[in-house]
Symmetry: C2
Subunit: 368 residues, 2 copies
């Protein structure tokens, strides 16, 4: 096999395919990238058996073929090359990389050893903007549950399409994050659970351009995200997702309109007094046109007052500051509304159109 | 005690004093900063018993006094405050920090518990530009030896003044780094060994401005660096430094003139094939107007050719690539000269005026 490509194209391709290389694996072959040149396409493939990524790079194919190479070694080698044209010449066991006066010879393996990406039927699909999907992932993925076998479903996000509506939902037992978007067309109904890891990697690959499209294909066990030069293919998580609609109430006793930055900065300040993993309730005392935020830990006391617009009853309620801060950071609006029911029910941060909705369960606090 | 200062002044002061706070200590008091307000000065002090830093910050003293506070907690608290005026009010056991609508109360201790900085006689001294000293430290400190009790002297740098000449030297048994500078005036002769840790921290405090001066005071056991608002005081390392002049020869058989960037990039590329801590010789084959750099490891083979200007004999010699790269990175010149004697003798990278000089011992290699 022999191919020629520009260093910049190489780097882009390697960076994308690397996202499917597991950080730790006992199967040596999964530490590798597959590079394949045929039918006029140069493809870089990474595959951790659950997530597979294939990306096309620009270049010239002198001789078709394929090989498998240690991903880390290959990526580091390529990264340090001069900014110029790179010639790859592969024999059975060795790859020569030539760029200007630089020559590397590194060991390779047969592409036969590499696990193929599953082929999925491209029937059910939806099309949307890469920017929109990127935003939706960012705004929900933080509240998926930790990876414990008992709660496998929580480690993924619900992707639900009904008519023209796409909804992404994540939850971890203490909070629910929800994003709705209207698609341009009506597609078939879909309800699948996508692994959080897939979404985290996909997030880094999606472009930030509204005009760039991604086609999402759904099969029984897989989801495929198809972008211009790149495919991201992932297993789905099996099971029935939680019935989140039952957990959300539209009623409230208190509604607060507040500057997002002010409250986020305030919570951030308070957490200075919390040692990592230490759970301390952050108390919100809503009275008239003011919210008083207090925290008390062995490291000191914190107190800040912020002006608000309030409708409804006064309420004193406490939250895990991290959960509140995560939700506030996810919201792009400068001014937000927070709805409270009572000290036992979750507060809800949402916009009027309910394009986003964050439920956070309160925690107990001792009113000294 | 009560003081008022601007957040920005606070941050600057805290950042400087923090440099003397040890990362790990069994003495809890050393995790603290001392804050002292009297005689119109607000001082922040850090002290790890070997290195002490005292810095003055702008502010208004309402009531004189002093206290000791956990450095990490204080610095994080102050960092998150709104960009505004901050009022500190200390009682015996607690410090109230007030800034706009924010209130912190954090525990403090009596300043009596804090170790005083030693008072040193300000007799022997030298004055120089902070920028020059900063450069000299950067260009030598990387080759001090690791901290092993047996080689205590190697963990420091030689500061030597003779007439108008200041020389900084560091060595670690495999290499020597040397910087010479001409001072503006003649000072008394000095020869002391300054701990590498002190120089690393001082480097971060020194300004990058040629006009800013630093006065260096030398006493029997201490060195004091006095800048505009900051004092850095350090113990010296006891002992006689190595007689480096005996290790340096002016003779050479081969002189090479080379583009620094090209050779540095080349070595950087080669090291991709070396796993951390694995010692592999990087072979330099100097023939006619070319240097061929080769490396062979279990991860592959590397080969690059670079054009050079050469005087004298051809030579094939090998080095630890890290040591070569460290020296090249330290040099500011775009074009450099490297002098070789034979395959057993160190190569020397130096400019004509010998303002810098880097000796690196070669390593064995098997000529296959």
């Amino acid at each position: 096999m022999k191919i020629i490509c520009e260093k910049t194209a190489l780097i882009t391709g390697v960076n994308i395919a690397l996202r499917a290389i597991p950080t730790k694996t006992t199967m040596e072959i999964l530490d590798c990238l597959k590079i394949k040149a045929n039918d006029g396409n140069i493809l870089f493939v990474g595959n951790d058996m659950s997530l597979g990524i294939e990306t096309k790079i620009n270049g010239e194919i002198i001789e078709e073929g394929s090989f498998v190479v240690n991903a880390k070694l290959f990526s580091e080698t390529v990264r340090k090359l001069p900014d110029s044209e790179v010639v790859f010449t592969a024999s059975d066991v060795s790859l020569n990389i030539k760029c200007e006066n630089v020559n590397y010879d590194i060991p390779i393996r047969s592409a036969m050893d590499y696990p193929d990406l599953p082929i999925i039927e491209r029937k059910n699909f939806a099309v949307m903007s890469q920017l929109t999907l990127k935003d939706m992932i960012r705004q929900t993925v933080f509240s998926i549950g930790a990876d414990t076998e008992a709660m496998k479903i929580m480690t993924g996000e619900l992707f639900e399409i009904k008519g023209k509506k796409l909804r992404l939902v994540s939850l971890d037992g203490h909070r629910i994050s929800l994003r709705n978007v209207e698609l341009n067309e009506e597609y078939g109904d879909v309800k699948v659970i996508v692994p959080g890891k897939t979404l985290n990697e996909l997030f880094k690959i999606l472009s930030g351009e509204l005009e760039d499209k991604v086609v999402i294909y759904f099969s029984d066990n897989h989801i495929l995200f198809e972008m211009k030069d790149t495919l991201v293919l992932s297993r789905l998580i099996e099971g029935e997702y939680y019935l989140v609609d039952r957990m959300i109430s539209g009623d409230y006793e208190t509604k607060v309109h507040i500057n997002k930055r002010e409250i986020a900065d305030c919570i951030d300040r308070a957490t200075v007094l919390i040692k990592e993993n230490d759970k301390k309730p952050l108390v919100f005392d809503l009275k008239n046109d003011e919210i008083e935020v207090t925290l008390k830990t062995p490291f000191g006391k914190f107190d800040e007052r912020i002006n608000i617009e309030k409708e409804g009853d006064d309420i004193k309620i406490a939250f895990n500051p991290k959960f509140m801060l995560d939700a506030l950071k996810a919201v792009d609006d400068d001014e937000i509304d927070i709805y409270f029911m009572n000290v036992k029910s979750p507060c809800i941060i949402k916009d009027k159109a309910e394009s986003y909705m964050y439920l956070i369960l309160p925690v107990n606090f001792n009113a000294d």
